[in-house]
Symmetry: C2
């Protein structure tokens, strides 16, 4: 299982500093939506962020203007961009086409997407399907149970990514479960006193 670290709600300077430090430690570095909307994609170039080994995900949360946003996003050097499952089917199709053409990846954020809509989102074979717990939702989130349920319902989805307050114990459980392709960790790494050491601990339990 891969580890994606989400960097959010920090200054651009700090985001760059921490990205450079995590580059050789984790699999995927996410520049969260807060950074995209605070500083913009032009300020989040992969090179300038000092990312040379990890993959870069920009959490663009595209919900319209798929071609423009995905072309702009990949032009930064990003490997993965996100589109909302709640977007129109045409937007998702366009994003997927741009991603495939660029030999990059589309991440579908399934937040607030019900079963009926999820069924319409199947068939993007190379896409990553992200089970995402809204930060604004106060309900508890059992990551492994959510992944198991999603996999049982949609066994054809080969790449599942899961996010939402994941701690070390949950990450270990997800790894043992062996379904999810990637786990996203935010606060449990970024809000620790030593993000690099925290990331190393996560890497250890998921490999």
């Amino acid at each position: 299982m891969k580890l994606q670290v989400a960097i959010d709600r920090v200054s651009l300077d700090y985001a760059k500093k921490i990205a450079g430090q995590l580059d050789s430690v984790v699999d995927i570095i996410e520049m969260g939506t807060s950074l995209v909307k605070d500083y913009g994609c032009y300020a989040l170039q992969k090179e300038q962020l000092g990312i040379h080994h990890a993959e870069l995900l920009l959490d663009t949360k595209t919900i319209d203007e798929g071609q423009y946003e995905f072309e702009q996003g990949f032009a930064t050097g990003a490997d993965i961009l996100t589109v909302m499952g709640a977007a129109a089917t045409g937007t998702l199709t366009t994003c997927y086409q741009v991603a495939e053409k660029a030999h990059h990846q589309m991440f579908i954020d399934l937040m607030e997407v019900d079963d009926a809509k999820t069924k319409q989102l199947l068939g993007f074979d190379h896409a990553i399907y992200g089970i995402h717990h809204a930060k604004d939702s106060s309900a508890d989130f059992d990551a492994a149970a959510s992944v198991a349920k999603f996999h049982a319902a949609y066994p054809q989805v080969s790449r599942i990514n899961v996010a939402g307050g994941i701690d070390l114990a949950q990450a270990a459980k997800l790894s043992q479960q062996g379904i999810a392709d990637t786990v996203i960790v935010g606060g449990k790494i970024m809000k620790s006193n030593d993000p690099v050491t925290a990331a190393q601990k996560f890497m250890k339990v998921i490999k």
Copy 2:
């Protein structure tokens, strides 16, 4: 009826130039999602955009992290921020609370929101409800008919805003219809040879 001009997919310098020119002509100047995601909110301060008379709308298309995005957005001096109707109810409630507290406005983008979900979105009395035609959708859009249908279904909504390829004839029709609070015009002004003159023509037919 008010006129909102949407500025999108241009350089920051051009966005500033045109915003300054339109400031005394139109009611609301929108910095579109493309500008928010390309340059970030920190680059879109109302003062720096030269907007002193018109209201500023930042099309943040918030779908999670409502408190953070709305606090960051209003800190730029923006008068109106957008939230997706497809967001979780908790996100919408949070955005509304931030907007009310700041004595600013929340615009709910109804793109890809069905009737069942729209019913859950009612009751934000001061919010602007935006009937929005996805740029990625190729289907035809009859603005006046859409407004009439929405008004008949949800007569309690007092502020309706409509967008999607609106031309002069459609704007005039919407004005005569007398339901919509605001019309958003993008390409028909911004892609004309003389955006200021084009905006003046729209102002004339809607007053």
